[in-house]
């Protein structure tokens, strides 16, 4: 457990440091944030034609309200936490890669819900928007990361999840990892 946490914190610091570099911002964070805005706008457009997107800004054409997806709301930090947690946990690489693929989709999927919900909450009540934006959704997204990690850990072979080899079978048959 200590090894996991040390590795997790190390990976977290490195990945977060890389994310803050101008190179990563230009070539990854900004394009991803714009893509997130387009995805959210496309989904909203299915039931609301009064929405447009420009870069990372989603605007309502029926009111003057607009939301700009900034750092902390693009799901990149939550994804970094998930990547660090899965890479640090002892597991076969196949499980790690599958877990990362499914986990990133789950985290970013909920993040799209966050963006859309904030877009409408902001048009309805500014105080509720601030509360949801600054506190509630922050906690929910990290809860999502934790749940995804827990579900992933449950799928691991016992030997990997516990960090110990499996107990030998009573029948004397060879154990298969």
């Amino acid at each position: 457990m200590i090894r996991f946490f040390v590795l997790f914190l190390l990976l977290l610091a490195v990945l977060f440091g890389v994310e803050l570099t101008p190179w990563a911002q230009r070539w990854f964070v900004e394009p991803w944030t714009a893509t997130l805005a387009k995805i959210a706008t496309s989904l909203v457009a299915l039931f609301d034609s009064g929405v447009t997107v420009s870069g990372k800004v989603i605007s309502s054409t029926t009111s003057s309200f607009a939301v700009s997806i900034e750092a902390g709301c693009n799901g990149v930090e939550a994804t970094i936490v998930l990547i660090a947690a899965m890479l640090a946990f002892p597991a076969p690489w196949k499980h790690k890669l599958l877990g990362l693929a499914a986990g990133i989709v789950a985290v970013q999927g909920l993040n799209v819900v966050r963006v859309i919900s904030l877009f409408y909450l902001g048009q309805w009540n500014r105080d509720v928007f601030e509360w949801a934006h600054l506190y509630v959704w922050q906690a929910l997204i990290m809860l999502d990361v934790l749940v995804v990690w827990l579900v992933w850990v449950r799928t691991l072979p016992v030997a990997s999840a516990s960090g110990r080899p499996p107990l030998p079978p009573a029948s004397g048959a060879p154990a298969v990892a």
């Binding site: 906690a139 990290m142 934790l146």
Partner: protein, 195 residues
């Protein structure tokens, strides 16, 4: 063959967490002046220890931490000093998250876990408060203020990183780490049961 235990299925736990969250958020918001008081004290102690020459007073008004500095705002406001208000709620929303996770887990020693988690999160909250304060006087304030603060370029970079880490990562990750560390037995049960 996986064993189906009567306790701790993951789906029931997640529903319990979602049920507890409104309660814990309400308590956290209403009791913020009391709950945040130790973190504000620690933030004040750290600020005075690290940058005593820049801080003349630290006051708490509900969830707002007001830093009174020794910095002058410039010629426009003669005789005044720069004050920085920091919203401590921004760095403490992990407290209701940790409480909801702990209460939903329903472990026998949940009050001990709550106390341990709270003690572990107070320094993280204080870190966020101080990083926000430093970011204000070293980076986002007017040039005549940042120049008085006297931080080097390297120090400003470190402050920027500390602020980003203290606002984007630490408030959400710290409660998750604290919860995992205080619920290892619960996690082991969850791992071995069906959802």
């Amino acid at each position: 063959m996986r064993r189906i235990a009567p306790s701790a299925p993951l789906s029931r736990f997640i529903l319990a967490v979602l049920a507890w969250l409104p309660v814990t958020f309400a308590v956290w918001y209403l009791a913020a002046p009391i709950i945040l008081w130790p973190a504000v004290l620690l933030a004040e102690w750290a600020a005075r220890a690290g940058w005593g020459g820049l801080v003349s007073a630290v006051d708490q008004h509900a969830a707002i931490v007001a830093f009174t500095t020794t910095l002058k705002p410039g010629a426009v406001v003669a005789g005044g000093v720069v004050t920085v208000d920091v919203n401590a709620l921004l760095y403490s929303f992990g407290l209701p998250m940790f409480a909801a996770l702990t209460l939903a887990a329903r472990e026998p020693q949940r009050w001990r876990a709550l106390a341990l988690g709270y003690a572990a999160l107070v320094p993280a909250i204080a870190f966020g408060i101080d990083a926000d304060f430093l970011k204000n006087i070293a980076i986002t304030a007017a040039p005549q203020v940042t120049s008085q603060a006297g931080f080097s370029a390297v120090q400003r970079e470190a402050i920027a990183f500390a602020f980003q880490f203290g606002s984007l990562i630490l408030p959400a990750v710290a409660p998750a780490i604290a919860w995992v560390l205080t619920h290892r037995a619960f996690l082991e049960r969850v791992r071995r049961t069906e959802a």
